[in-house]
Subunit: 342 residues, 2 copies
DNA sequence: CGCAAAATCCAAAGCGGTTTGAATTTGTTG
DNA sequence: CAACAAATTCAAACCGCTTTGGATTTTGCG
């Protein structure tokens, strides 16, 4: 059904060396020979054994993703979209994606093993923490990697792609302030994640520049799931001095917030405004002519694709220093916001 | 930092053969020798090269998942939970997960290539179609695989794990009928998927046994995303002879339905009942003492874990015919249902 | 035509394991 | 204690590809 290199060489009456070189585009083989080799390879349905190739070259043409099990489920919905984007880029470039689901405690040792055993040529790092040990490890092991997000602001010693979370939350908050809101609640993600810290900073920036004092009583930082939005919003609505607007870190809690608001008989966008960050999750789609939510929007799938491209670039052309991309989120106005007290 | 087999053997003054056998638990090596080998291996931090091993054995200790890009986004949110479950089982058993994201058209050729190149020892098949060519291909190539779902009812020639979708929708519908509902809409998933067909059959079973005539005008089959639930519910509410209950194929359209209902000023569970299938998606969590939705519930993450176990079993102990598991979904009563006209 | 340089091509040695078939040790018996 | 079987161990071949260093052919040019 299928032949190996040796058989191909024999069929051609040529050495394996030359055949191998012809197939891999080396210059020291004549065009005539190359044509013959290519034709015969096609005819005999030759395809090289990846295992043998990996063993011989030490390259694996594989990218590793390690995703932590259990806590931080919050990654999941984002995760599938990111994977879809990255996976497509990998396929296009002829790379495989190796995914490892492990407990948090085994996370680092998994990185180590994947690299030591040469199973991967590069790693994708998700959701960096404030002081992320994975990054240090990867740098020490000299393994190409790209971080989706950033760890510390100042550190440009590695490749990353991030959304300008500070700016986008600053703009979102500013937008609400411009509509007259002055009491704005924050439903942030877990602040061990760097992006969540930046979002809070952006929120505080906007408040400060409008000379509004931040109230820790209406600022939360939890996992970005639907019930979080629901519970906290109920709580906010029940309290005295209720906020007139809420800014959410993800569309999931935003949906929870809407649920709570509607349950109270209020109307989102009229009685209370909501702005959310929107990762453009393919299964929740906040689009249409007038989208449900006013949002700062940046596609996580696109981010996945671009991260993959950057990583492959880094693998295949090392030496060109680490690349960085800071994306600006787009502010789209939907039905969930309106002037205060309208 | 790390040694290979040859160096290990030299350090021990023993042949590679014996070392290899000692490490792999062959019986023809004395316990004394084995101990020495194991100790030295530990000491020298030996770990075998997976590439070399794969080349020599032809086994890859890798499971392939191919996920189609673009259409059927509906797979995504389920997908991440399934992966989490399966991935954990793989890790535990020492298997790698290889994920390939490709266009629908390249799906089959991807299966073929993964198998021909021996990159995988087994494949996981998602979302079987009514007449699924992947199954035929895998059988022809004699590759172990497990299907999450089933294709045709009668066909037990391959391993699968499925939820008894027919029964669960029959029960869900019956539950509504028992509450007095007689006009029940169906928001099904795409009926090219076999599970969706079975759900419809269950729905029709229940209607028939209550002598209610099915109305195609209130039965839909689309991708299970939030906006689908919203749009169709709006449409249903706007029409004449509006249904008193809706049964949904996923919690996403169910959320859309709630949104539409609340927007009309109605109250879910009082004015209109909703039952949904609940895959127990980790980021949407329909739990709590009294869950939001009345649902037939079956964890997709657990399914992923179990599918992985079945697959590994099939790989490591071939010959024992294909296994099948048919899971019964659990009916949990939440706040989204009530007697008709209450 | 002669000869160095350039262009091709090749045999063989890895890469790091597993496994076959034979050799060596050890153990058991008569 | 010799003789033979069982238990261990080993040298070498093999998995399928890349790559080094050298051999062979072609080409260019005086």
């Amino acid at each position: 059904m299928s032949v190996n290199l040796k058989q191909l060489a024999e069929a051609l009456g040529i050495s394996q060396t030359t055949v191998s070189r012809a197939l891999n585009g080396f210059p020291e083989v004549s065009e005539k020979t190359r044509r013959k080799v290519l034709d015969m390879a096609q005819q005999l349905n030759y395809s090289p054994s990846p295992h043998a190739k990996k063993l011989a070259t030490g390259k694996s043409k594989t990218i590793g993703h390690v995703v932590p099990q259990s806590d931080h489920m919050m990654i999941n919905p984002l995760f599938s979209d990111f994977i879809a984007g990255a996976g497509e880029a990998y396929s296009r470039a002829g790379y495989d994606m190796l995914m490892s689901v492990v407990d948090r405690e085994q996370e680092e040792s998994t990185y180590y093993k994947l690299i030591a055993s040469k199973r991967v040529d590069g790693m994708m790092v998700h959701a960096p923490l404030v002081n992320d040990t994975r990054i240090a490890l990867l740098q020490k092991l000299d393994m190409p990697f790209v971080v989706h997000g950033r760890s510390a602001d100042e550190d440009n010693s590695y490749a990353w792609l991030d959304v300008n979370n500070r700016r986008s939350f600053q703009r979102a908050t500013r937008f609400l302030i411009d509509l007259g809101h002055r009491r704005i609640a924050l439903l942030n993600g877990l602040e061990s994640m760097t992006f969540a810290r930046r979002r809070r900073a952006g929120y505080l920036d906007a408040l400060a520049s409008a000379e509004i004092e931040a109230d820790p009583g209406i600022m939360f930082a939890e996992e970005m799931i639907e019930p979080y939005g629901y519970e906290r919003t109920r709580q906010l609505l029940a309290g005295k001095d209720r906020p007139t607007a809420i800014i959410c870190s993800s569309i999931l809690p935003a949906m929870g917030a809407v649920r709570a608001i509607q349950q109270t008989g209020l109307v989102p966008g009229r009685d209370i405004s909501i702005v959310t960050h929107d990762d453009v999750l393919s299964f929740l789609s906040n689009s249409g002519n007038i989208p449900l939510f006013t949002a700062v929007r940046s596609s996580i799938k696109e981010a996945g694709r671009r991260c993959a491209e950057l990583l492959i670039e880094a693998i295949e052309h090392p030496g060109t220093g680490p690349r960085h991309e800071l994306w600006e989120a787009e502010l789209v106005v939907g039905n969930s916001t309106g002037p205060v007290g309208a």
